[in-house]
Structure formats: C-alpha cells, structure tokens
C-alpha cells in the first residue's frame, strides 16, 4: 500500500515540467549534485568537529559548549542547503530515487540521526556547566557523539551508493528486496 502511494507520488512529481527541466539540463543537475556534496564540508564537517570535541580528539582545551554553540550556525546553514538541494535531486529523478533501496535506508538513518541530535542537544543542555572544561565529555554525551558519527557515516555512504544499480528493481528477483525498494511493478509481475 505504502509502496503504491509512494510510486504514485513519484510519478506525479516526474510528470511536472520543472522536474523534467532539472533532469534534462545537464548543468542544472550537476550543479545541484555538486552543491549537495560540497556542502558536506560545512554541515558534516562542523558536526564532526563538535562530535570529535566530545570525544576529546580536537581542541580539548576549549569548552565543549563553546565549540557546539559557535559551530551551530554554520552547521545549520550547511544542513539547510543540503536538504534543499537533496529535495531538488529527488524531485529531478523521483521514481528512480523513491525505488532505490539505498535511498530508503539513507532516509531511515537520517531520521535516526535527527532523533539522536535531538536527544544529544537535550543532554548537552542538561549537563551544561558540570563538565565543560573536561577534555572528554561525560559518558552519555560521548555515546551520543559516537552514535552521531556512525549514523552520519552511514548516511554519506548510503548516499554514495544511490547512483549504483547493484540492487535495482530490474536486476533482482528477491521479493524482500523488491518490497523494501518499493518495486511495485516487479512485485506484481512475480
């Protein structure tokens, strides 16, 4: 049911004039993709510096809350650009992307990364002042930083897998994979 709805939504997007314009213009798609990837250096770069500080790997002599607070703005700017360009990339190739197993897994990891960031922020505020000058953050924050690093590494890796077609609707007959990737037509044909 959900796969059918997502496919219909993808097909509706694909029929839009702007979607076709984005994908047919070689430079428009390339620019979008390049901006999406290059903004990694701002968003994930800043996020990793914050996480590394929690683990005591960078600037252990600078209060952790200062690092987190000062890098928050560039990080958010980076993420906003990434989400806009990411959404436009999906809009340019909606059916192909929606039926990508890697894209779906990436979205799940992205959701988990945001839940972790929300929990992490709460813990950071709750622990404020007690440990700020310690080289390594307390265990709950350290765990949050490690989870964040693992999840974002996963997001980037799965994002990199999307253009590859190892597990494409057209080259697998495994029903679990077909269902997970949302390959409606191939499932109906079996």
């Amino acid at each position: 049911m959900i796969n059918e709805l997502l496919l219909q939504f993808g097909q509706w997007m694909e029929a839009q004039q702007y979607s076709q314009m984005l994908v047919s213009g070689y430079f428009s798609y390339s620019w979008l993709e390049a901006t999406h990837v290059l903004t990694l250096m701002v968003s994930i770069g800043s996020l990793f510096i914050i996480d590394f500080r929690m683990l005591g790997w960078v600037m252990p002599n600078v209060p952790a809350s200062t690092i987190a607070a000062r890098l928050h703005k560039p990080m958010i700017i980076g993420f906003v650009i990434m989400f806009i360009t990411g959404a436009l990339l999906v809009y340019a190739k909606p059916v192909e992307t929606i039926q990508s197993l890697w894209f779906r897994m990436k979205m799940i990891l992205l959701l988990l990364a945001f839940i972790n960031a929300w929990v992490f922020n709460g813990r950071l505020k709750a622990a404020e002042g007690n440990w700020d000058n310690d080289p390594v953050a307390p265990r709950p924050l350290k765990t949050g930083a490690i989870i964040s690093l693992v999840l974002w590494c996963g997001v980037v890796t799965l994002g990199r897998y999307i253009p590859y077609d190892w597990v494409d609707c057209t080259n697998t007959t495994n029903t679990t994979i077909l269902w997970a990737a949302g390959c409606v037509d191939q499932l109906n044909a079996l």
């Binding site: 290059l38 250096m41 510096i49 960078v58 600037m59 002599n61 200062t66 560039p74």
Partner: protein
Amino acid sequence: MLGSILSQYARTLSVAAAFLLIVLVEALGIREAIYPGLEAFFNWMNQSSWLGVIGTTYGSVYATVEAVHLLSMAVLGGTVLATDLRLLGVVFKDVPSETIVTGTHKCFKWALLMAILTGIFCAAGVANKVYFMEVFWIKMLVLLVGSCFMLFIKQPFLTSRPHAEIAPWMMRLLAITSMLTWFTVAATGRWIGFS
C-alpha cells in the same frame, strides 16, 4: 650571515623553489614531454595494480572507499572552515585564534592523509579515464599547492608568533587563500565525477 638569513626563511624559500620548478616544468615543455609516458603507468594502475583490480571488480568496495573519501573531505573542510572563519573573525570570536589553529591542525592532517589514501584508490579504479581529464590534473596541482601552503606556509607562520603581532589583512589573506584552495580541490574532485 647568509646562511642564518636563509635558514630563517627555509620553508618560504622551499615553497618558492617548488613554485619556480613548476613554472620551469611548464615553460620548458617538460610536462608535455613527460605526459605521454605517464599513460602506461595510469593503464597499469587501472588494469594491473591490485588497487585498480579491486576498484574495477568490486563496485561496492569502490563506492565505500568513495564514501570514506567524501567523509575525509568533510572533516578536512570542517577543520579548514573552523580555523579560517576564526581568522576572519566570523566564528569563535571568544576563543583565541592560536587555540583554534593548533587545536584543529592534527585533525586536518589525519583527514588530508585519509583523503589522499582513499583518493589514490578511487583514481586507480578509473585511472585510464582520469589520465585524459584536464580537471583531474588541475585537482592534483591544487591539492599539491594546498598541502604545501597549509603545511609549510600557513601553519608554521601562524604558530611562529602571537596572532596579535600579525597584521589583520595577513590573517584574512591566509584564511581566504586556504578556503579557496580547499574549495577548488573539492569542487574539481566533484567535477571529475561529471566528466
């Protein structure tokens, strides 16, 4: 006398000599003479070296190493941005710039090393293609210049004296040069994928 003056500016002179060497290589047509000979090496990298064989045989390994390359570039970008935005007075205004410069450098070096190692693997997988790409050679040149700039000019200069003694325009120049250099490295790298 001359020796002491030269030793004081050893790094600057080395970089100037390297720059002069690049100019000479170009002006005397050495690059054009060497270039055809490199094709065999690039073909060997792609078809016979174990890096190239793994890269071309196992797509998933290649894509995973590509992801590590991207992550290394992200960390590198994060350290460059944190340092250079501080030198420009945009972020971390309440933290001494000396602390940021020294605190991020180790991480930068690790990220650069990882980016280069994974980059070699990625290049080996498509070596027979990148050899003919102008953008690949531009990237290599900017990477070389950027690494020399960071390791032999910017960092030694910024750690050699208190930042209060450095003219603000010099700090801004270093920061802008650094950001532009690494942005070019990343952008040309992305462009290789489109070519």
